[in-house]
Symmetry: C2
Subunit: 331 residues, 2 copies
Amino acid sequence: MTTKYNNVYIEDTYTVCGNYESDGPLAKYFDKKHEKDLYFGEKTFEKAEVKLLKEAVEGILNKTNIKEEDIDLLISGDLQNQIAASDYMARDYNIPFLGIFEACATSGEGLLIGSTFIESKKSKRVLVTTSSHNMVSEKQFRNPTEYGAPKHKTATFTTTGSVAVLLTNQKSKIKIESSTIGKVMDLGIADPNHMGAVMAPAAGEVIAKHLKDTKRKASYYDLILTGDLGIYGKNILKEYLMTNYNIDISDNYNDCGTMIFDLDHQPVLAGGSGPVCSGLVIFGYIYKEMLKRKYKKILIVPTGAIFSPTFTFQKETIPSIANAISLEVEI
Amino acid sequence: MTTKYNNVYIEDTYTVCGNYESDGPLAKYFDKKHEKDLYFGEKTFEKAEVKLLKEAVEGILNKTNIKEEDIDLLISGDLQNQIAASDYMARDYNIPFLGIFEACATSGEGLLIGSTFIESKKSKRVLVTTSSHNMVSEKQFRNPTEYGAPKHKTATFTTTGSVAVLLTNQKSKIKIESSTIGKVMDLGIADPNHMGAVMAPAAGEVIAKHLKDTKRKASYYDLILTGDLGIYGKNILKEYLMTNYNIDISDNYNDCGTMIFDLDHQPVLAGGSGPVCSGLVIFGYIYKEMLKRKYKKILIVPTGAIFSPTFTFQKETIPSIANAISLEVEI
């Protein structure tokens, strides 16, 4: 489903990152950096992730000088079971709340739901947040790190951080121009250590659909940016689009998972992942480059492998989803 | 956030229930009933829940003679970690998908997001689904039944079933008239065996806000119907509204959790719960009574305790949420 928006803008963004991201090449673009450990003064990793989300909300409220009561709606999701980081963050704010979940594609889902609320003229300001925490994901989805289980080179490294994006109906420098909502795909891959391969077809399908519905060529965009396919998934996507749709994205395509870390020198295997991976790269780095007019038209495609350990134990393959959202420099 | 809709209608609904609900007082109102066991021919309870959701989608497509491609958007959520029942259902349909999570308040969240997509004129038809499965919840949130752990009388019994609600921009007999989105509340209760007490304040706040914003009295509605507070939570809500807002709902209020089972003769303790509890009662029973004009104006308030076992183990209290949606007989 492709939708063109007439009246949805980004008022501002706020990004918070953990220590691995602080050591990465994009660190200078993030508003707040943690550098010591992954607890951030909390007793558990789960509560540390709640703290990250609260820092993003506090950060954007302070940066924009806007009060809670001026925000009509808070939309948030994360990787914790029951999206607990978002829920426990939201209980501290007096803002109507919608909880969402599309794994690492959650930030894009929040943006397009928020954009629809503004476009329907029912909301004036919507705050969209997401987060992820490396150790929470290791505990919940993989093996406790104490086990020292070796990892395959195609595995990704969950990014730690949080991001807040404030959407508004008031004209600003960057417009949410259109979006295409993706479908759940499953091409039969069951390997949770190769999420790039799981997600690439979902990204390919939604990019092809977006370009078809908007009658645009890939070259319309200064940059097409997927969420967290990593180095292997990135190549699979390029091949998928060329083989199935004859779409060549080799000149204007990148993947946030390959950008947030220094893949040659940091222990991140195929690259970064987690909902905040695309969040940090897009709303930390790219957003600021758009404000400088380095990029004027970009298509962001947050990608999610909807990995359920329970279904994987039951020998099921892994479904995936991706949404495409077009951002344009307005002024 | 209270919103009035001009153009959102229910085209039809389809409900599927499990064996405990088949033995309950509302069984005759459900479109499909399972009566044998809780596996429904699948090898695991989790896959059995996926089957329930697919039956709801197939059921509404067959009942309305509408094809997948005529539906712009599928919105779904459930209690499984990673909302896996919804994800694994959605991969079998070629419909753009949004995954949501507000625990047992999920059905209401789906309705109001779907209504906004229709109201914004970006979608013509939106399918909203939800499900729950008693044994999946027992495994994931409580104790494996083999342990035979005794339960407190204030505990509720997760309802098994699925529901599909087809929203449309074309006039029908029943209109989604308005909605109020709730905030995450936490009054400090940490007992997962007393969810009625956890959720009652969230229901009370959203009902009070809805009546204030719409300038209506409680008596405007033929019926106010909360999701799954159960017999104890129901009394707490009545007292909460009277004490805090001087709102008397004693004449036109009921709770789906106390209606779906025969509380005197079925082993369900304080009543039914789970996202499909309110779904079955509202879109099985009440919807059909509205078509017969027994009720003309109702306010539904699906309630959710956003219970995370991880945070409860970490000594945290349990947040909750509720949304209020007004349904009116149109013709």
